[in-house]
Symmetry: none
Subunit: 418 residues, 2 copies
């Protein structure tokens, strides 16, 4: 089954509002294995709405429409649907009585404008709306089903549960669809794509999605069909993708973040961490402490933004700064070792770089970043030099992300050799 | 001029992501008086995209397409646009060279898949993308203009500024509608609403918008019409709103952030700042250092997440911790004074609190936060105790925000008395 969602309302075409109703509807479609082909937002314009519906009728099996069922003259979804289907609007006496009763129970006389809400498209099954005045409708036309819902989220929600979900459950025979996630850090999207390419052939290209965002890749695998085949297939996909992507996969749990995974590794090893940050200015510490319970393994950080504080807070030798400059491998190493020793943790991270826009030179352009991870033993320091693209914000976010990924690999190696 | 927005990407048809790019594009359309007729989200399906474009070509004058320009096989926007216009795709040698250079500068060989991004629709003007590999395109067809942009927000944003806005400015003969902004920190939305209520009557309710987000209120005033009346009216609105909202307004420049305003005040006074952060875990330092050039006034921070580090890094007396607990007024004050003295700055901030979800008690529930600002003189410390609502993330963000607002007021007072 293929579906489309249409949100009606000029307010949804402004600069500060999005159609969030579609997310709820999508979740329901997903659960019953219905493929969402497209969604659209259209203003309160009868012609536009009708044209969209006409073009959808032949292409999808299910059209979910929200909004434009209110009592005022700018609510034209009823008219547009009737026009698209070539049907009349008829006054439904039962609906009118229900609206009148609703106003009575609130101690009001029904305003004349609300009569409009009692007009229904000929042939529609009315869907009651106990939370508001606008009833919904279900319509059939040549194998395509249309649902009309009000745009008010609470009203829509109730009618989804009361009318849409039972209809879908019956139609689909309970068949569902499930998604699994693999998260990857420290690799470009195209490298991940090359690695997992064989899985496209094995499971179908559409079953696998790649999303990239700020140094993190999200692989999504989707399986449809009845149980237990669906679950088995999903497990096989996850296993295969994990095998292809290798140890770059840091989690297969959607709720995990790279900082929570690093935290779990530290907790499991009974180790503690500190950080000395220059160009990231506290971003790494902020991410680590965003995890509830992080005080169990994260002691603190020195944000050594000035050269003097690199010396005073974590004991970077002044001669290293003078000889190599603050953005250099020796200083990153000294920061990592220094923060570990000074603040008394098992592991220490040092990050120093040029985030821009100023401060770059030919030898050390903007985006030059040195990251070092020290510990748990004395003198045991790893270092990585990066040349990151992008603006200040991006360089900083990438740096923190890659420092976490270095830590993760260091902790995994330590766990493996323990 | 009538416009449509089309966002391409199967991930935008899922249950957890919305097309937020369209809000940015809509704001730009708004400024130039272009009417947005509809927006749609379509998956990575060539046929669907092409069909949508064909139906739009006769109905609007401007089509803005985002997404689907990536290197992987599921990125099919290029192909779909070519099909809809009946044109070929041609390999652009200059674009290919730019992509290769980009990978070289990162120290990678260009993966073969990225070649796809060098194919452009015949007749397109290529729009450079300095922030990513996918170039954009501008195409003309029978009076309708199509723009193709990548879906990555930072890349889109840059190309909007570089290519779309200049094109629109030329086409429309200048800005038709203008918005001015006033930003406010440290006040609840309802208080701001009450203060500015008289302006609704004077300028019309629709001309003024209030948006609230994490301890910051954004007041927007909008004026339409020809110059010079528009500018005059906008200036009058800003002046009146500033008068009504009072000294809670920290800026009337949209590019300013609370941290950049605090930075400017420090720079103007020739003063330096350090911070000792516990519950915010580096968030304040991260915000302060997100401002280019912040090394002129921000020396660094101590993220003293553990009690021991509160003692070792900034000299909080252990007896204070024992007697009052880490989340207390005396400890916040000792952190602010301690970091100022230890790290050698004019001003020092101390933040200690319970961000949750764990760690709360009857006496000190989750959301209890103490903030202190010390300096510039010895013993000159201000303190504020807060009971913040919301989850861990919200408590942390509010705390950093209110610390910055305390600093701003302290610096303003110091500037006034100097």
């Amino acid at each position: 089954m293929k579906a489309a969602i249409l949100a009606v309302g000029s307010e949804l075409l402004g600069t500060d509002r999005l159609d969030t109703n579609s997310l709820r509807l999508t979740a329901l479609l997903d659960r019953y294995g219905v493929e969402l082909r497209r969604k659209a937002v259209i203003g309160d314009a009868e012609e536009e709405i009708a044209a969209e519906l006409r073009s959808l009728l032949d292409r999808v099996d299910l059209i979910l429409i929200t909004g434009g069922l209110g009592p005022t003259a700018d609510d034209v979804t009823r008219e547009a649907v009737a026009a698209a289907l070539g049907r009349r609007l008829v006054l439904d006496a039962k609906v009118l009585a229900a609206i009148e009763r609703r106003f009575q129970s609130l101690g009001w006389a029904m305003p004349e404008v609300n009569r409009r809400q009692a007009w229904v498209v000929e042939g529609a099954e009315v869907i009651p709306n106990p939370r508001g005045t606008a009833p919904g409708m279900r319509l059939e036309r040549d194998g395509c089903t249309l649902f009309l819902f009000p745009g008010v989220p609470a009203e829509l929600e109730g009618m989804m549960t009361d009318a849409l979900e039972p209809w879908m459950a019956e139609r689909s025979g309970g068949v569902a669809r499930e998604t699994a996630v693999l998260k990857i850090a420290g690799l470009p999207e195209s490298v991940v794509e090359e690695r997992i390419a064989p899985a496209y052939g094995e499971f179908g290209r559409e079953a696998i999605t790649i999303l990239a965002n700020a140094g993190e890749i999200r692989l999504q695998a989707t399986a449809a069909g009845p149980e237990p085949e669906r679950r088995t297939r999903l497990q096989a996909m996850v296993a295969r993708l994990a095998e292809l992507a290798g140890d770059a996969v840091f989690t297969t749990r959607d709720e995990d973040t790279l900082e929570s995974v690093v935290g779990e590794l530290l907790r499991a090893a009974g180790r503690t961490l500190t950080a000395a940050e220059s160009c990231t200015g506290g971003l790494l510490a902020q991410r680590l402490t965003s995890v509830p319970g992080s005080s169990d393994y994260f002691l603190g950080a020195a944000v050594t933004y000035s050269d003097e504080l690199k010396v005073r807070m974590v004991g970077v030798p002044p001669e290293l700064l003078a000889e190599h400059g603050a953005v250099s491998e020796p200083v990153a190493r000294a920061m990592a070792e220094g923060v570990r020793r000074t603040l008394g943790s098992d592991y220490g991270v040092g990050i120093t770089g040029i985030a821009g826009p100023g401060g770059g030179s030919e030898e050390k352009p903007v985006g030059t970043v040195h990251i070092a991870v020290a510990g748990p033993g004395e003198g045991d320091v790893q270092h990585r030099k990066l040349r990151l693209p992008g603006d200040r914000d991006r360089v900083r976010r990438f740096s923190a992300q890659l420092a976490l990924e270095m830590l993760r690999r260091r902790l995994l190696a330590a766990a493996g050799s323990a």
